[in-house]
Symmetry: C3
């Protein structure tokens, strides 16, 4: 801890938010690298290539409708909406950071999905005959999933970092994700349809560790902006609802054709419905006069979708899904009420969006639920073929027993936590270097640092006292006049 | 009427909006009940169960793509968006009730869909061999439909009831809906693809009757908040557009595979397009200087989708759809201009969102259109097989004539109206009991009653005169200072 | 130019924004005409007709899932969202023109799609045996496409025209579009899956030419409203993101079943991702302190989707898509920074939304990319069957060589530009007639001209100085009182 402390002091130089050179360079260089790497490695797979018609005949596929595109495209589009509108708008709740929330989310997701196609491709879709990665709709869904991990991490540091830092965080996040995912899904052979472990646990702890490394003792200087406004809360509900509605697609997007997708969707739908009720109950119970808190409604209502991720494709049973949602609504809301303040005070982790309550903790619960459900699987419930299909007991894993699978699931969960925390600490160290243009404490949560704001907003920003007090007549008049003059130009 | 009046007086005690105990209890107990009932009754059906692969082979189904999931999931997701974003945001138009609109909509929909799965399941999907309800994607769509009926009713009482009242209203609403639906679709054997009768007519009159029972003579005390603001009107357009765009999915979601879904979607798309033009025409014609009224654009543009619901799967013909939309745009807009004020003045029905013009009246029109279209069906237009498929003339109904089907449709419409009005009056009586924590007249349409509002908003709320006049310097300064002090904590 | 000038003077009479008579008449008469024409011409096709079951047996189609509805409906819904929410909200960025942006977009799209079904139907889907147009899901997608062309043109004149002018502009726009499309796709036999040429180039130049004809020398009188506000920029991001996310569906909606849709979606997804990074880079590079400009993020990030439209279904290769996106992000953002001001100053083209940078220029690039990619196609890359399928080398075009196809593509691009400019000039002349109720220069970009605004907004509008200065106590008090009085009524 001593060395961490001294490293911190080393980094605590006066901050300048100028990203005039660094941001364009990062964007140009990395995008150029993507083009080169895509040129070398990435090609269409047999379902998106013009040779599909020959492939179809060779494989005796009766109709174009059996192209994987038609199985997965509706789910893909829902996932895509979650990534860009869901995550983006969920974070617009801060009164003066809506541009940053939705804009930087857009930027890092657009970069992340390209890098994810490469990283995941090398691990999963590399065709050894010609050294190319062959992509189709499933790869693109997985790239969106991979990006989700980084966007979760963004939630922890929202308003406190520069876009360059976010790009760096995404570059390393995607890389770590791909390795962790390969270990969990391929080496350990755990199942994780909706990514409770792979996406949410990893992403959550990755973000929390980075936030811990970037701890700002004097963040209360930004308190003026560290809250929501009426309209920004309504904008955030757009994000919440699109995440909530499309979560069934998220958890079923890459599960098995047929019953796999069907069941994953039902389980997620039910878990989410259940979460809403317990979130409302706890929110009302723990507030003065029973009033509801928008923070809980915006976030905790989603915890059930996270927690049912791993087990969504299993025979969790409808009531099982409801129980998972029930518990997560309670735990997540209590987390916002008690845990987040404690974490800031004692653990020095400042978690802007409360991702610990929405992703990390429900992700761990999801991993545990998955392990238990897998261990409890029986042939009488699943059927022989169903058991083999659901848990992919094929090839080398032909003789795996469900109880052993439960252990593998638990091992996968541990890997996700370790990668999240370990990776986050390392990347956090890198991000502390005083070269990234992050804002000083009193410019946190303020779009003005990185965005050209509309005239009147800028005015308001730079003269907050005038507008708050609203009683210095002459001064106020001058401003109005100067404002008018500026608009004339 | 005398006894109603005295009952009203009995109930008119001073109101307290505290739901500190009641809301958590209702949420917890009802959600627990759901878990128990789901545990006893609800299982996956053969298309979402791991035994699907065996089922597939037994039924000689050639590909996973013929799982009902792939026929209906895209439509399901659209319907889901309508329920949560569509209805939720449509009601955000009030300047200070956006949290309540979108938040309570979320709460009651999440509860309602669980209860609907059970209620509808008992009537429609109960497997008598093992006493279980087997659910798949179609059940989940129907649950969303069922919820829609209650959300329509919410529109009539928006801003005037507590969340506990809404939960009670939903519990009874879903129950009544399931019974009514069973009578109309199964006993009477009427067809109602898009639910003009089953959903909109029932939901509309259910809400209006409740609103009549909850009549508030002094509601003008809330006039200050009983209107829209510029941004809240834009938020409401999000709801309008998602409802408008996805209505074709709503009306086609549970129709027959193949041409049934295809035709229902085309008819709805056309009816809605036509409605927009006549809504704009009437809105402009009846306003000073021809200016358009956002209330009409937000609501009446949707009336065509309601009115084409029943007949959407019939051979209504493209021009028929346009005619239905044409008429509904006119009638619905005129309803907003003339009928709503009259209903409040003479019938004592306060209809916040004007659901009579958007759902009840177009629903009745839809029922009538359905009856006429069914009665006019001929084998020359439909083809023999087509006629039997479309009207489900199978089994006991093999020899039904189209003219008789027209009569059945009309009978169904009457049942929907009776259930709506009768059920609404009874439930309205229950909701008048002074135990539900509903707001006093001067706290209606105000989020402050049930929500923690962002600091500055609360300030604004509690000192409206100060901000309106904006000229008591010392007072204003004190507030700004106290505001600052509060933010420091 | 002299005659243009004198015509301009003739038209420059004082303007009145009253559309009290003209708007209702236009809506009623045109909608009635639609009903009559639909009655005469439009019927269901064999996939949406009740005879589908017979058709299915006759054609030996094994399952209902092979109805075109299931191939295209998810894409259709995404396109529908782009048209109504995407285009509508993208234009809400002006601080006081959100109602007009989203409302008039709604109106003209609803009319346009009906007229497009007829116009495109006569050219493409007329059944010569009975003189009827047979419609199915693909026709409805194409109608939405056709509407997109007119909505693009709306972007150039946003805030400067009356709804009646927009209706006229749409009527002629759809007509021109259908002819132009028929020439390009059928007579010239160019391919244009995503409509880079047919939709974006045409729509862009059509709008720019109209805007040139409607040049307002004194538009700076509206400068007060010619900008965005913080919240209106966030609303615009809703439009941006839905366009961005669903653009892959746009470009793949009417491509070939199977690999065609699959590949078009992948190419578009990648091009768009690449565009985001270069847009951010240029935006940051060319602003003071490297701050990002919301105008660029809202618009230029979409240019890649436009530019990849024509080539989306070709074997552009993933890296090819990235390169197209890379270039378009740069060019489009530079266009906003340098070209738009120059075009206003020297060419007298006032382009409110900058459609030249978002649609016209990227559309031309898309046409060129398409021509090059087509000319470079080889059998070794596409396979013999794949080449014939992709470029539709069938029937009379059986022996077309790819190089020749490249020439045809280029010819198509020229036709699109000519139709856009020529049509725009003619329609612009018509729209200059002083009978359409367009706003005077100082009422541009102001919703008050055509919309009933919420009370407080209207107050604000009519007394801007009072609210800006905020220090005339007595006056201010009077207004507050009168406001209160008005609300009492």
């Amino acid at each position: 801890m001593g060395c961490v402390q001294s490293f911190r002091e080393l980094c605590d130089r006066p901050k300048k938010t100028n990203v005039h050179v660094s941001l364009p360079i990062v964007c140009f260089v990395w995008q150029t690298a993507m083009i080169i790497l895509f040129g070398i490695f990435i090609r269409y797979n047999e379902e998106s290539d013009t040779h599909w018609i020959e492939h179809r005949k060779a494989k005796n596929i009766s109709s174009d409708i059996e192209n994987d595109f038609y199985f997965r495209y509706p789910s893909f589009q829902d996932v895509h909406v979650m990534i860009f509108v869901g995550f983006g708008f969920l974070m617009t709740f801060l009164k003066k950071y809506s541009f940053g929330a939705v804009g930087f989310n857009f930027l890092i997701a657009a970069f992340g999905l390209q890098w994810a196609l490469l990283m995941q491709g090398w691990f999963h879709s590399l065709d050894y005959t010609d050294g190319k990665i062959k992509i189709g709709v499933e790869n693109l869904i997985n790239a969106d999933f991979c990006v989700a991990g980084c966007l979760i991490a963004y939630g922890a540091v929202l308003g406190k970092v520069s876009p360059v830092q976010l790009m760096v965080m995404t570059l390393f996040g995607i890389t770590l994700f791909a390795v962790e995912e390969y270990i969990i899904l391929n080496l350990i052979h755990a199942r994780d349809a909706g990514g409770s472990m792979v996406i949410h646990t990893f992403g959550g702890y990755y973000g929390l560790s980075i936030s811990w490394m970037l701890y700002r003792p004097n963040l209360d200087q930004s308190n003026r902006l560290h809250g929501s406004a009426y309209h920004s809360d309504v904008f955030a509900m757009i994000g919440t609802l699109f995440l909530w509605m499309f979560w069934p697609s998220f958890n079923s997007a890459v599960t098995d054709h047929g019953d796999g997708q069907h069941r994953a969707f039902i389980n997620t739908y039910l878990a989410l419905a259940s979460t809403v009720l317990t979130t409302v109950a706890i929110s009302s119970l723990f507030q003065k006069h029973g009033k509801l808190d928008m923070v809980h409604i915006q976030n905790s209502t989603l915890a059930g979708g996270v927690a049912v991720g791993t087990a969504a494709e299993f025979m969790l049973m409808p009531y099982g899904s409801l129980i998972v949602g029930f518990c997560c609504g309670i735990l997540s809301t209590l987390g916002y009420i008690y845990l987040t303040p404690l974490m800031e005070k004692y653990l020095k982790i400042q978690d802007t969006c409360g991702i610990h309550n929405l992703h990390a903790m429900p992700g761990v619960i999801g991993g545990i639920v998955g392990a238990i459900t897998a261990a409890a699987a029986t042939e009488s419930v699943y059927g022989a073929e169903g058991l083999a299909n659901t848990f992919d007991f094929e090839g080398a894993y032909k003789d795996t027993k469900p109880t052993r699978q439960g252990g593998l699931q638990a091992a996968g969960l541990c890997v996700a936590i370790c990668f999240g925390i370990g990776g986050g600490i390392i990347v956090g160290c890198i991000l502390r270097l005083p070269i990234w243009g992050d804002p000083s404490d009193d410019h946190c949560f303020d779009d003005q640092a990185y965005w050209e704001l509309p005239q009147e907003e800028e005015e308001e920003e730079s003269n907050p006292t005038v507008l708050q007090y609203n009683n210095h007549h002459t001064h106020n008049k001058d401003i109005a006049v100067s404002n008018f003059t500026m608009e004339q130009n």
